[in-house]
């Protein structure tokens, strides 16, 4: 394969898909008009609105691709893509259910027990059950395989000890899927072995959750401390020792979606509302440039979805999309900021100034969460044959 031949196949929107797109747009327009939500920058990561999540559940827009017997709606991954991109573009507050719907539910569907699927999946699909990610630790960020938290086999289950960090929303989430060490060591040689994943009820014994306030003022991150926290045998997800393989495929789902380039898109819409329908040359150029970027990003992201839907595992294409897309989120905010050069952001409270200041304060996390851009470029470089 030539180095440059990454594939981003085209997706044609069927009339049904377009009808769904319009249905979501109509819903969002009426919700926004009636005060059902206020647009928010980075709403999939920081916009927590439990009531809004429940509304989406009632509409059938959570757990969309899952079997009906588990509360899902047996719709295609493209239908899910359409719904999620509309929510993101409109700046909807979809953070509460995001992780559960995107990755924890699919993970349980694959690796959970029948009882877990019957109990938990319908609640996620209803927008009533939320999940936190348990990957990073205080000493393990990009180098995830160096993690220290352990699960030790005891009678009837496992005892978990250690600390998970970031775990967004853990203070309101019901469960965490944690990747921990059940064997092996942190040594260079076999560090990817001996990792396992567990379903952990965050209301269970031996668990303490402490908030970590971020620089944007959000009470969003947490440190979750496990002190002999007991989980029963059926909470081991998948196979003991297979955690590394499982967690990397979970990251694949994390990296390819429209949330990797649309986090700050609402700010451009709000800036255009201020500018009106007759922009000057400078304004027109900034708008045009960013729309051109958005269109290309979306095409690439849809291409990755097409590959996923075809049963492929486009790890490299997903890494490319996330690297370009998250850089774009940051560039867009800086361009949008300068569209209205006299605004003291943070002082004004209209939707432009508010979403822009939220976006600027939150965007440093874009190029870090879900794999830093440096890690992603390493993945691309390997594919290019450089390492």
């Amino acid at each position: 394969m030539a180095a440059g031949s990454f594939r981003f196949p085209r997706i044609d929107f069927s009339p049904e898909l377009k009808a769904l797109q319009q249905e979501v747009r109509d819903f969002l327009a009426s919700e926004r008009a009636s005060g059902g939500y206020t647009p928010v920058a980075d709403g999939w990561a920081f916009g927590v609105d439990l009531e809004f999540s429940r509304k989406l559940g009632q509409r059938g827009w959570l757990g969309m691709t899952w079997p009906k017997k588990y509360g899902g709606h047996e719709r295609s991954s493209m239908e899910r893509y359409v719904v999620t991109e509309e929510l993101l573009a409109a700046g909807a507050p979809v953070s509460a259910h995001w992780v559960a719907d995107r990755q924890s539910g699919p993970m349980l569907l694959k690796n959970g027990t029948e009882q877990q699927k019957q109990e938990i999946l319908p609640r996620i699909a209803a927008g009533e059950c939320f999940f936190a990610i348990g990957m990073s630790e205080p000493d393990s960020g990009s180098d995830l395989a160096s993690l220290r938290t352990t699960a030790t086999k005891v009678d009837g289950g496992w005892k978990i000890n250690g600390r998970k960090i970031w775990s967004s929303g853990a203070h309101f989430c019901h469960y965490m899927i944690a990747t921990v060490r059940t064997g092996g060591t942190r040594d260079e040689k076999n560090r990817h072995e001996g990792l396992s994943q567990f379903l952990i009820d965050l209301k269970g014994p031996g668990i303490q959750i402490r908030g970590i306030k971020n620089m944007a003022g959000d009470e969003h991150f947490n440190e979750t401390v496990f002190d002999d926290a007991f989980v029963s045998d059926d909470c081991l997800l998948g196979k003991e020792g297979e955690g590394w393989h499982q967690v990397t495929s979970e990251l694949g789902l994390e990296r390819s979606g429209p949330e990797r380039f649309l986090s700050s898109a609402i700010t451009l819409t709000e800036a255009m509302r201020r500018i009106g329908d007759n922009p000057d040359s400078r304004e027109a150029e900034t708008i045009g440039k960013n729309v051109a970027r958005l269109k290309a990003m979306r095409r690439m992201s849809l291409g990755v979805s097409a590959l996923l839907q075809g049963g492929e595992s486009p790890v490299v294409e997903a890494a490319l999309v996330k690297d370009l897309g998250t850089k774009f989120e940051s560039t867009l905010l800086n361009d949008v900021r300068q569209l209205i050069p006299t605004e003291a952001i943070g002082q004004s409270t209209d939707d432009y100034a508010r979403t822009l200041s939220e976006g600027l304060l939150r965007v440093p996390s874009s190029t870090i969460r879900g794999g830093t851009n440096e890690v992603l470029r390493g993945i691309v470089a390997r594919q290019l044959g450089l390492r």
Partner: protein, 355 residues
Amino acid sequence: MSSDENLIVDAAARIFGDLVSPSLINDAEAGIWPSELWAMLEESGLTLAWGNETLGGAGIEVIDGFSLLREAGRHSVPVPLAETMLASWLLGHAGVQYPAGPMTVAPTKINSNISLGPDGILSGTVRDIPFARVTEHIAVLADSEAGKVIALVKTSDCALREKKSIAGEPSDEVSFDGVKPVNVEPAPYGLDEQALFAMGAATRAVQIAGGLQKILDQSVQYSVERSQFGRPIAKFQAIQHGLAQLAGEAAAAGAAADAVAEAIAASGGLGVEARAEVAAAKTRIGEAATVGTAIAHQTHGAMGFTYEHSLHHATRRIWAWRDEFGNESYWAMELGRMIAAEGADNLWPFIAGKE
């Protein structure tokens, strides 16, 4: 992509691979016409890929023609293939029979004032006509009292002042004063300078996307072969990250090129929707051109700055194409105005489509 695409691109890639060597490209810059290459392309019907079959063209799907141009862009093909295809596209709209031999188009800018008098004689002078001096005919879009016309003109009837693009390719000034066209037909509704300019921009955008693929391949190969500090420079993380970003820009350009080719194939290239797609593609691909060529040159170090190394065959063409038929600033403004006129709430439907 149509089912014929692979056949056409494969045929073209074989010809380019066999004949378009670095020395042939350098010779072309020195003014030596690559006659064997042109003859092969013409015999295969590729030069009239976009030509209507009833007028002597090859009748290849529009979208496959774009794939051919991407491949030509990848190989820095130093003949007016894109220009001849563009000319046949223009002539086809007026039902003008295609001549043999290389062609180009005029004007390549907006507001250029070429006009056809009531006596059937052309007037007007235009700049930056690619490859004019090596062509036999020029397809001209001109004003007349009866509206826009499409004229086929013999290049030898025109007065040329030879100039070069920054790629070292002919980009001549052409005077049509006193020239009687070989053939004139009225242009169909909607085919004006803006439409020709947009089709030219789409052509250049797709060629750049091909060129970016080439410089990515070259840069990867160079970094693996070149050793410094006792190891291939590909092993340095700074190089790896640069090339990963170049790969991202090349991929984004490829995605934008696919999008514009599909839009023009679906619409014929005239009309506001196709125009918006052209604007988006030329803008995004122009940006990729800037970022991508800088990384490629940085990776190649001083070697890539020599005339002897072939990197500049692609990078200089990318830079010329980036500015021809409107650069990213021009098209971004066009796109921004188009979108703003529809209002903020139509921004997202513009990007993601609607019912």
